[in-house]
């Protein structure tokens, strides 16, 4: 029975997508209905996985057994994915009401949900990789949903390629892991023996994780992915797909050796810090959220690798809801603006403002989700974030090296920045007055728009997770997630306190900076060179490029003022150099390889003409050649005998 249940959960979204594609007129509704069933089943399914694994084994290749397995953590994540997916489906009905390709959209979305669920259910590395790739594929398909604009297509391609680089390195790691005698079942993974190859495997796996979760050197693809429809961003690029990396880190935790884990933690915190800084300088509404996602994922990665993986997973859950909520709010805002001004739909926060009055439900939902994100008490984000921070502190305390404290300290610092940029966004978008041309008041009647946002906002309250906001008993959800008992110690309270303080400070700072000028034009926004620097992602791309062409760095800095569009020079450069290389090989192929053959051909032909010409006109030359031949034979005879 339970096996079938899993199969239903897995296949229903796909089926829904196909049905939606088959009946395009009612596509959204059909898909949503299927998803709702899935969600209910996923919730129901939690009953069956108490403390044990449900395993469905099958032979995929001869002698090569794979299995689906669900334990408590994945069951909860399955619920999360299906729930958010359901909500996003609902929201999409509203969001895409005017689009002509809805049927395709729901097919893709259903396929994505299917892949994501498969990823969570798979118990074998190869199976996991299969779904991992399918997730990437469907993400690509969704990013290029509005393919008529070639910019979107390019963005989608680059996002997919970046992902694929990481994926293939992960693939290599998996293969090496299998090659080293491991049978590849996640549920029975053990630590690897310490040697060079295990380090290599670890690094490969790590890169895969970093790529999918948009961590430090790979994070550039995520902002690009924002060209897809906003609900898609909410589902894929905030809640689920990017979390897959964290999920994999959680699953493979045991494989990494501790030394490597420290590095992962550092990478995580660096990402979190950078992401937050960049987010603070963005003007695009979705970009802020995208970088914020990167930052939060860095948090999770850090949490995972310092050993607070329970909390990190918990943060994954909470983050999924409030970030999806935020994205849907952003979608709501953008949809509203685009209806108002179809000719020039904007995502630039500088041209918004005062939307509170126009979109009240959105505003309040946004506020709740934002509070959860910045980590104020009574909201879900606070619980998970504090858990990670405390985990990091306790990890640092176990180190002899004082430098280790840099990690949790930075994490605290990040909560200040987070609060700052979220506060800024709230102020710029909802408060004050509208900075564009005049805005008509339009009633928002559609519950299909409001309901998902509201549900997500409600789920961002801390009450669902822990009764007492500042600690205390585990709630049912935490139990399901397998959270460890809380960290104890007398240092816990000051840290919590300082964290809350920093958040409040951040909010205050944002108000000080933007709230006061509320009504006026945002003139001084991003005027300083530093903020441009940060806004452009620390010119990380340009730094990459500098490795290849140092002079380009300078040029890029000069041109970046004009070119505000974020380009991705590193991968561009790789792509360009690959293309150049391919041109070179093509030339090689044509000139050298084929040329060599032609050369042989011409040599033979020249020889041929020579031999052809060697039939002289003069018959007496015939005699000469024949007799010379005879003479040569005889000379040979003379010396041979």
């Amino acid at each position: 029975m339970e096996d079938y249940l899993l199969a239903f959960i897995l296949l229903l979204p796909l089926l829904g997508g196909i049905m939606a594609y088959t009946f395009p007129s009612k596509s959204g509704i059909i898909a949503s209905i299927f998803l709702s069933i899935t969600t209910i089943l996923a919730g129901y399914h939690l009953n069956f996985v108490e403390g044990k694994l449900w395993i469905f084994q099958f032979e995929w290749l001869p002698g090569f057994v794979m299995s689906f397995a669900v334990d408590r953590s994945s069951a909860v994540l399955i619920l999360m994915v299906s729930l958010i997916s359901f909500l996003v489906h609902l929201f999409s009905i509203f969001y895409l009401s005017g689009d002509g390709y809805k049927d395709r959209y729901y097919l893709k979305l259903g396929f994505f949900t299917f892949s994501m669920l498969g990823l969570l259910m798979s118990d074998h590395l190869i199976l996991l990789f299969i779904f991992w790739e399918l997730v990437g594929f469907s993400s690509y398909m969704l990013i290029i949903f509005w393919f008529q604009d070639v910019k979107n297509a390019i963005a989608g391609r680059i996002a997919f390629m970046t992902n694929r680089i990481a994926d293939l390195i992960l693939f290599m790691g998996l293969l090496m892991l299998l090659g080293s005698g491991n049978d590849g079942f996640l549920s029975s993974l053990g630590p690897l023996p310490q040697n060079d190859s295990s380090t290599a495997i670890g690094i490969c796996l790590l890169i895969g994780i970093l790529g999918k979760s948009a961590q430090f050197p790979f994070f550039t693809w995520l902002p690009r992915a924002m060209v897809g429809p906003t609900p898609v961003s909410a589902l894929i690029h905030a809640a689920t797909m990017v979390a897959a990396g964290v999920y994999l880190l959680f699953r493979l935790f045991i494989v990494f050796d501790p030394y490597l884990l420290d590095w992962i933690a550092s990478l995580g915190i660096i990402t979190a810090f950078l992401g937050a800084l960049i987010a603070a300088c963005q003007t695009d509404m979705k970009a802020v959220l995208a970088y914020s996602t990167i930052s939060q994922l860095g948090y999770m990665v850090m949490g995972m690798s310092v050993g607070a993986y329970d909390m990190a997973l918990f943060h994954l859950w909470t983050h999924a809801f409030f970030k999806a909520g935020l994205f849907l709010c952003a979608g709501s805002v953008m949809h509203y603006l685009s209806i108002q001004n179809p000719a020039d739909p904007t995502q630039d926060m500088r041209r918004m403002g005062g939307l509170k009055g126009y979109l009240p439900i959105t505003f309040w939902s946004y506020l709740v989700c934002m509070m959860a994100l910045v980590g104020l008490p009574f909201f879900s984000g606070f619980i998970s974030k504090e858990g990670i921070t405390l985990g990091a502190f306790s990890w640092a305390m176990q180190r002899e090296n004082g430098l280790a404290f840099a990690l949790p300290m930075t994490a605290l610092g990040i909560s200040f920045i987070t609060a700052y940029y979220m506060g800024k966004q709230l102020i710029l978008v909802f408060l004050g007055s509208y900075r564009g041309e005049k805005l008509l008041k339009m009633p928002q009647k559609s519950w299909i728009e409001r309901a998902p946002i509201l549900v997500l906002a409600i789920l961002s309250f801390g009450i669902f997770y822990r009764i007492h906001p500042l600690g205390g008993d585990l709630s049912f959800l935490e139990y399901w997630l397998g959270t460890q008992p809380k960290v104890e110690g007398n240092w816990v309270t000051p840290i919590m306190g300082s964290s809350i303080l920093l958040v409040l400070l951040g909010l205050g700072f944002s108000y000080w900076k933007y709230g006061r000028q509320g009504m006026r034009e945002v003139k001084s926004f991003n005027s300083s060179r530093l903020s441009i620097f940060v806004q452009n992602g620390f010119y990380l791309d340009k730094f990459y490029m500098g490795i290849l062409v140092p002079s380009f760095d300078w040029l890029a800095f000069k041109t970046s003022k004009v070119d505000t569009v974020l380009i991705n020079p590193f991968f561009n450069k790789i792509a360009i150099s690959t293309v150049v290389l391919s041109k070179v090989t093509d030339l090689f192929d044509r000139l050298i390889v084929d040329g060599l053959i032609s050369l042989i051909k011409s040599v033979v032909q020249i020889l041929g003409s020579m031999f052809t010409k060697f039939h002289p006109t003069r018959v007496q030359m015939h005699f000469v050649s024949a007799i010379v031949g005879l003479v040569i034979i005889l000379v040979w005879l003379k010396f041979a005998l």
Partner: protein, 540 residues
Amino acid sequence: MSSYLLSLIIWMPLLGAFTLLFFNERQTSGIKIVALIFSLIQLLFSIGLVWRFDPNYGDHLLTSFQFVEKVSWISMSLGSFGSFNIDYHLGVDGISLWLVVLSSLITVLGVLASWKLKQQVRSYFMLYLLLSTSIVGCFLALDFFLFYLFFELVLLPMFFLIGLWGGPRRSYASIKFFIYTLVGSLLILVVMIALYLSVGVLDPSSEMMIHSFNLLHMMDSNYFIEGSSLAKDSVLTFMGMPLRAVAFLALFLGFAIKLPIVPFHTWLPDAHVEAATPISVILAALLLKLGGYGLFRIVFSIFPDAALHFGYYIAIFGVLAIIYGGLNAMTQNDLKRMIAYSSISHMGFVLIGLGSFTVEGAAGGMFQMIAHGFISAALFLIVGVLYDRTQNRKIENFSGLATKLPGYSFVVMIVFFASLGLPGLAGFVGELLVLMGAFNVSAVDGMLPNWIGIVAVIGLLITAAYYLWTIQRMFLGKYWVREYSWEPKMKDLEIREWLIFTLLILGIVVLGMYPKIILDTMNHSIELFIAHVGDLKIKP
């Protein structure tokens, strides 16, 4: 009935070709229907073959052949030279079984794809059916001479099919194709002769050595005559190399040109670009497989020792093909040429799989061949759809086709992604298995170093890069085609095309989702093959 099943499969198309002789050149639809019927019958028979096939037959490579037919064909006395024996010897095992099925299927699809042909229909289909006979014959022959006969017989119809129904530079391409492959097959011929003279059994009655072309004898070192040129103890050398190694290399080269490996690949893009769509399909889906199959059945099985010695270099050739083919594919602006280069790239995996000497690797190589058969057929048909409508296939001439031709673009997406190795589609499984083999081997006994696998993975990346780029350039963005006159012709797929593509995509998806369906029947044979080839592997 079942004892003649293989013969029926082989000769059915030829029978069709003879039937066509009774048709008038102008009865085009009749000709097409006859061709279709005969190829369908062939397909039916090969499905019957699968039905009756016992996947666990035999316990040694030499005894694992089923449906064996063996009739003496030529037995002529050549005086003191001895008597000359060629058998009509057929048999099928797990390795060849699916290639046979693939060929029959592709033949049917090819007939469907050439349905719109107008000029010289009768000659076309006669040559086409002859080609089909010879390809299937290659896969089923167990006598080296018979194999060689079919192998050479592939050349002639192909030469004319490219040269007569091809594009503007068809004559150049056909000559190039012919000469390249002829050089390869002449190398095979020399080695075949040497093998024939090295293999024999002592006839008890006349006390004379009876040589034979029996491939099974050639695979068995017991049948090699002591002191003959290619026996294990042969002392003959050629330019300082043992003759056995030289023979192996010559044979390898002969088949590798067909596969093709990199420095000898330039016939392929030209042939593909100039050939008509169905012929390209046959070329990519079946003809390249002849090379791969020859490597399995002949090169590696007969010279396992030399193969083991050169395994590493073979894998290097594989990697070279993957990277080089991929890079070249990226820069092509002709869609068909790009796909041709991608074929080269994909066939590199077969070499790596073989070079790894593992069951996974070999099975992966075989699977890759089958999967590539489906995928490349679909790819070339995709080009054909475009070419049918516009007589053009330059990538830069099209943009945003997804808007105008949604069905077509849907097919393209699936096939392209299958080709770039998206899991769940056929292309992935072969690559996975091959890479598993490559990495396994590096961990277990160091036959192949890790970098082979790593570079192969980079090759996958390149594949992804050019496919995605192509999708972006041709199918995404705003709808636009270069010539105004193409506009009215840009229609979505018609029923016949849907039928072909549905079959192919079905195959691609089924193979990708449930590869066991063919791996199960193949696996036993692959295991026996590896046991036979690898039993010399001495671990330090």
